[in-house]
């Protein structure tokens, strides 16, 4: 349908090829392997298709969103949306021909630089699929760097991220994953120390962690380094507008979910895996990296670099199998950060902190509700409800509110726990409505 050929074009082309009909070309596929006509619905015209899609999209309920858990509703500036839809970015591919792709390459360099600035690291790649797979790549890199075979994962890490690491390494059996229990919602240094020995490649610290709490990253990093292990940090990049950067508190590798930087919720994807590290580990980075160089006239330019790590060169000995990444999401993040600048990012992060803390205070003033865990948090908190959190969610859904994520789905012992998130997007009226609705559930 999007083929432009006229009948005249087609016959001229067949003549140039030297065949009478297209069937001569299709004969490459033996007739026994040809498909019968597809069982397919009638084609929709563009207006019909738009109407069909709108009807489907309308089956999703618009909600006032207090859910986080690795996907947060942040404001996306109009300029981000406009610029990423430019065909020059949208319809280019991986910049294999650097001279004809300087726009994409420079944007990747600016992306890597922005990620390094946020995380306090020296090097970053051009993106990975999402935060969870970025952590899996970090674990694999740590095992390669140290030559050790064990990764300590905290229970305070996103359960889906833990599950992804289990899938990545479980079948192969290495690196071996060992869980550090976090009954208080945070990593207990004694529990980490107990498990730290000279077989541990890395300790993973998520901060803010899955429950929203800040971990003692510096303390754990010191402990890990004393045993020759690396420290892998997983941090929400938006939180780094106010929170100390992982590079400053001792992380060797830092990863994150970058969706909050110019990406929509999109029911889970496309998202943006962030990966950065200290200079010493640069040659173990998975995936594409853009580097600055010069052209034949000595003029500055950009190329994909350190490609000897990658699958198209190293095949089964590559650092990772990744090829396509999340380039357009990385571009959105780059533009987003350029628009916000350091002050804007701080403003967003401070709004997140302020709204979440005011919401937590107000929610805990409703009889029966309290914070499940003690300790400082960024913009998510775990609310212990007087009834199963599923019921709270259901009740608030009727009022157009997505109350948060009930944690019973991950851990039966947490069936009354609701993970609540507030971003800069939630207005004071929405906070009030949320709290009022909680009051009605409690009654």
């Amino acid at each position: 349908m999007y083929s432009p050929h006229t009948a005249a074009d087609r016959s001229e082309m067949l003549r140039a090829i030297g065949i009478a009909s297209l069937d001569d070309l299709l004969a490459q596929v033996p007739s026994a392997l040809r498909a019968a006509a597809l069982d397919w619905p009638a084609a929709l015209t563009e207006p019909e298709l738009m109407a069909h899609a709108r009807a489907l999209a309308a089956k999703n309920k618009p909600l006032s969103c207090f859910a986080g858990a690795g996907a947060q509703d942040h404001y996306i500036p109009a300029a981000v949306k406009a610029l990423v839809q430019r065909g020059e970015f949208l319809t280019a591919y991986t910049p294999y021909q650097a001279e004809a792709s300087q726009g994409t390459l420079q944007a990747i360099y600016e992306f890597q630089s922005s990620v390094c600035a946020l995380y306090g690291m020296d090097a970053a790649n051009a993106s990975l699929y999402d935060g969870a797979t970025a952590l899996a790549e970090a674990a694999a890199a740590a095992a390669r760097i140290t030559g050790r075979k064990k990764i300590l994962l905290p229970e305070s890490l996103h359960p889906e991220w833990r599950a992804v690491l289990q899938t990545y390494f479980g079948a192969k059996g290495e690196p071996k994953l060992e869980l550090v229990p976090c009954p208080s919602g945070r990593m207990d240094l004694a529990e980490v120390e107990k498990r730290l020995d000279d077989t541990v490649a890395a300790v993973v610290v998520a901060t803010p962690n899955f429950f929203g709490l800040l971990e003692d990253g510096a303390g754990i990093a010191e402990m890990a380094h004393a045993k020759g292990a690396l420290l892998i940090a997983a941090a929400d990049p938006v939180s780094l507008g106010v929170l100390e950067e992982p590079g400053a508190w001792g992380a060797d590798i830092a990863v994150g979910e970058g969706q909050g930087l110019g990406g929509a919720l999109n029911y889970g994807g496309p998202y943006l895996g962030l990966f950065s590290c200290k200079k010493a580990h640069m040659r173990h980075i998975p995936g594409r990296i853009c580097g600055l160089t010069t052209d034949a006239d000595g003029k500055r330019g950009f190329v994909l670099t350190l490609q000897a790590r990658e699958q198209h060169i190293r095949r089964e000995r590559a650092a990772s199998n990744i090829c396509s990444n999340e380039a357009l999401c990385a571009l959105a993040a780059t533009i987003h950060l350029a628009l916000l600048g350091p002050e804007g990012l701080k403003e967003v992060a401070e709004l997140c902190v302020d709204k979440a803390h005011r919401l937590a205070e107000a929610a805990c003033a409703v009889p029966g509700f309290r914070l499940r865990f003690e300790g400082p948090f960024f913009n998510e908190f775990t609310l212990e409800c007087p009834v199963p959190a599923d019921r709270v969610q259901k009740a608030l859904l009727k009022e157009g509110i997505l109350a948060g994520v009930p944690l019973g789905r991950f851990d039966k012992a947490m069936k009354n726990a609701l993970l609540v998130c507030a971003t800069e997007q939630r207005t004071d009226e929405e906070l009030d409505r949320f709290v009022a609705a909680l009051g009605r559930v409690a009654r």
Binding site: E88, Y109, T167, L243, S324
Partner: protein, 479 residues
């Protein structure tokens, strides 16, 4: 225009702002302990909105892209993607859906995902699909874990090896290694097809799976695919198909009929998501009925007209990514497929094949095919340096940029000396293909009259040939 741009950080002016937000009632220091806070702000550019818009608009103009140039990258399927699908994926109802929302609140998205799975089943003849993998390589890895789980479920623990063709994409062996398998490479015959006898010689009780690309990376259909499947199955192994080249088979043939057990498709190649400078993609994996229970979670199911997301399925390999996958890409693919019927889908493959063979025929006297016979959706040609004053494929590729064409994939597949891999796709006009052919013919002539000019190409781009070795020797990857 077309001049190199300063970096955003070099355009930064202290105090400029691109966007402002409301002020919080209290600063973060009122809520959080001092020790948790960052001591200095991150070094990000400070720019006004207009400066940002101009900066990235100017950067964009340094790019070749499909909207402005033929982009005949073999194996990448750089075809036109209808803009309607961009608008559809961006509809608020889809874009604002939170991945942890209860099923009742996201029926529209779940319905699209389920419908897409069914359409992909019909296209491929396979029984079930997962939409979770985020890209083709991620799909391969998922398929490898499925094979691993399958053999484990049969207590068959000796299958530690995966076989790939010497013409395979680099991701195949890399994914196999990531899954914990050793990799053995099987040679292709001079006609570019996998050598069935060589395959049989290495198939055995240690073989977990054989991975093949169909059509293969030479753009050739594996005519013996059924015999290959039989041999693979007789050895107790599984057959994986890398579906990166599915544009050649759309509506024409179903991989299930070949004897394929597991396959991935690249939604961003054949099914409408623009390539975005390298992603996002989506790599759904389809399987035969016997392997369905191993598919990753979550899975979409339909119950009494309602759609549910199932997260716990016994036998599943688990999660390969957080949440449901690159849903935005899946929505575009669904829209694309509903814009077609069976006949127009088939015409995609037919026209892709026609275009590749047209280019091949028009160039064969100067750039011979790696294998001299008709091809499917792409053709692999060779540069003959001895007939071009010693100039190589790289020189031809760089000179093509001066002529206003993005270069084809070069030096791949690895088994072809001086390879030029051209995939025109079905959406290009005959006029564009003619102009491309003329450019390659002109470069061939130029190689004999002015080889220096070709060797020093490109001349008319924002930068000249870039120093890749220098970049790797002393990496500078951030400001």
């Amino acid at each position: 225009m077309n001049r190199p741009e300063k970096l955003s950080i070099e355009k930064s002016m202290a105090g400029r702002r691109g966007i402002r937000f409301a002020k919080p009632s209290k600063p973060a220091s009122a809520w959080l302990p001092e020790g948790a806070l960052r001591k200095a702000l991150p070094r990000l550019p400070e720019m006004g909105e207009f400066e940002v818009v101009r900066h990235y608009t100017r950067l964009s103009r340094l790019n070749f892209c499909l909207d402005t140039h033929l982009y005949p990258l073999g194996s990448c399927t750089m075809k036109y993607n209808p803009r309607a699908n961009e608008e559809i994926a961006g509809l608020d109802g889809f874009a604002a859906a939170h991945p942890c929302a209860p099923d009742a609140a996201v029926q529209g998205t779940l319905e699209v995902l389920r419908r897409l799975e069914k359409l992909l089943c019909e296209l491929t003849g396979l029984s079930a699909f997962t939409l979770q993998p985020a890209a083709g390589a991620h799909g391969e890895f998922t398929g490898i874990l499925i094979a691993s789980a399958y053999h484990r479920s049969r207590k068959d623990r000796k299958r530690t090896e995966i076989l790939v063709s010497d013409s395979s994409h680099g991701t195949n062996p890399a994914s196999a290694a990531l899954g914990g398998f050793s990799v053995k490479t099987v040679a292709s015959r001079p006609d570019g097809r996998l050598d069935l006898e060589a395959l049989k010689a290495v198939l055995g009780p240690q073989t977990a799976m054989v991975m093949l690309t169909v059509p293969n990376t030479l753009g050739l259909f594996e005519r013996q695919i059924r015999e290959i499947a039989e041999a693979v199955h007789a050895a107790g192994a599984l057959l994986y198909m890398d579906g990166a080249n599915f544009n050649a088979l759309m509506g024409l043939a179903k991989p299930a009929d070949f004897g394929v057990d597991i396959l991935h498709l690249n939604l961003h190649k054949s099914f409408s998501t623009p390539h975005g400078g390298g992603g996002p993609g989506s790599g759904p994996v389809g399987v035969v009925a016997a392997l369905e229970k191993f598919l990753p979670v979550p899975r979409v199911a339909e119950k009494n007209g309602k759609f549910v997301l199932k997260t716990k399925i016994p036998g599943s390999i688990g999660r390969v990514r957080s949440f449901a996958g690159n849903t935005g890409v899946a929505i575009r693919a669904y829209a694309y497929l509903r814009g077609h019927d069976g006949q127009t889908l088939r015409s995609i493959a037919e026209n892709a094949i026609l275009n590749a063979n047209y280019v091949r025929a028009k160039l064969k006297d100067l750039f011979p095919s790696a294998v001299d016979e008709p091809c499917m959706h792409e053709c692999v040609l060779r540069t003959e340096p001895e007939k071009m004053g010693g100039l190589k494929t790289l020189d031809v590729a760089k000179r093509l940029l001066d002529y206003g064409f993005y270069a084809p994939t070069i030096y791949f597949p690895l088994i072809v000396h001086e390879a030029i891999m051209i995939e025109p796709t079905e959406t290009e006009t005959k006029e564009t293909l003619d102009a491309f052919v003329d450019a390659l013919r002109a470069i061939h002539a130029e190689a004999l009259t002015d080889p220096e000019r070709v060797h020093a190409a490109p001349h008319d781009l924002p930068v000249k040939r870039l120093d890749e070795l220098g970049a790797a020797r002393t990496p500078n990857v951030a400001w």
